[in-house]
Amino acid sequence: MTEEERAIEAVLMVAEDPIEPGLLAQLLEVPVERVEEMCAGLAESYQTEDRGFVLVRVAGGYRFQSHADMAPYVERFVLEGQNARMSAAALETLAIVAYKQPVSRAQVSAIRGVNVDGVMRTLQQRGYIEEVARDPGPGQAVLYGTTMSFLEKLGLDTLDDLPPLGDFVPGPDVVEALEQGLRPDV
């Protein structure tokens, strides 16, 4: 294994989306052709070794994914390994996004008082929330909103059909969290 090949493996392992060969070439300071050769070589080695994962070229980039032969196990994992019910935490997070959209992850986290990265990722994967804009301020945080599919599943036509909150007034800390957005870390 060359340093470049190891670097490709490392980067693809932590990437959440397919990585373009151009980006890898830039990172490794080698020509794109060289990246494509190396990726092909790696993909072949996994195949030769009969690994449970493959390296594929999709959507203009490279990514690791599970081997098609292993689909039955992955399906079992999906069905048995995941929580099938919406947790109270997930529902609260979804509710905040629904009522306060567009809202950043940091704002949701500040309101709930806990880290919401995992929950937000799950909600996004399930197609209930999506990125809708970027905060124009410094940092340009991603802002989230709910999806059409979310409305459909709740049987609502538009967001205006969400039950009104009436005269309920959120606490000052919530207002502050929404106004301030991200706070500097300790």
Binding site: V14, Q82, R121, P163, G171
Partner: protein, 258 residues
């Protein structure tokens, strides 16, 4: 005591005290409570933005230190009160224990930091499921109604009660230092020159004496009194320097109170 230009930010009174004492470690047998107290008060002086809670904690420690240092100045020294003596040692041991605990966790924090630094060099894979499996995942919104969503929102944004830090143990000091300053501003102009022993001879509680001492230091800081001591263990003489018209508002004692 040398003063670093790049003063570290002290996270609390133990932090500061630990720093001051361990800095002196080179001259183990040279360490004296007097130097520690001086350095401690010096640092207190340099701190400009003490918030209330921090200030009271610092003062509490300062009071204990000063008591350790000034036992000789206290009245009733001639016939030592054994109970008081024991109480003082107990207080000192408590402070020592808390310093050791503080040091222990400081060192533990260093190790956690090193572990985290090593772990940070690797990044976990969190890519998640490939698209073709997503349809298999159960619909989490099944059975969830819009009203449940509303309830969840209200639950999420309703302020949760914050755990309260018990400050009862520092409250008396907080109140008394200012009270003592007030008393002194009233009493000292009339006395002109007075010894600390005389100033405190009617006080019964050890704590009251310490509080008075802190108040005297406060006035000294303000340039309203001069302090003089003939020799190492002689009486501390307090001379009023201000004019009689000093108003309490002009004193910066507010930082000690709520």
């Amino acid at each position: 005591m040398p003063y670093d230009v790049a003063t570290p930010v002290f996270e609390g009174p133990f932090d500061l005290l630990l720093h001051l004492i361990t800095k002196e470690q080179v001259d183990l047998y040279e360490i004296s409570i007097s130097r520690i107290v001086d350095a401690y008060l010096g640092e207190l002086d340099r701190m400009e933005h003490l918030d209330l809670d921090v200030a009271t904690e610092f003062l509490l420690i300062a009071a204990t230190l000063i008591e350790l240092k000034t036992r000789r100045l206290l009245p009733g020294r001639d016939d030592i009160d054994l109970d008081e003596e024991l109480a003082l040692w107990e207080e000192r041991d408590l402070l020592l224990a808390r310093l050791l605990e503080c040091k222990t966790f400081k060192d533990a924090a260093d190790v956690l930091n090193r572990l985290a630094a090593v772990a940070d060099r690797s990044v976990p894979r969190r890519a998640g499921l490939e698209d073709q499996f997503l349809s298999l995942t159960p619909d989490l919104l099944a059975g969830v109604t819009a009203d449940m969503l509303k309830d969840a929102f209200i639950r999420a944004v309703t302020p949760k009660p914050l755990a309260r830090i018990l400050l009862d143990h520092v409250a008396p000091i907080r109140a008394s230092v200012q009270d003592a300053v007030e008393e002194l501003v009233d009493e000292l102009p009339r006395a002109g020159v007075i010894t600390f022993r005389h100033l405190t001879q009617e006080l019964v509680e050890r704590l009251e004496v310490i509080v008075r001492f802190l108040a005297v230091l406060e006035l000294f800081k303000e340039g309203l009194v001069d302090l003089h001591q003939e020799g190492n263990f002689a009486d501390l003489t307090i001379t009023w320097l201000g004019d009689a018209a000093v108003t309490l508002e002009s004193l910066s004692v507010e930082e000690y109170q709520g």
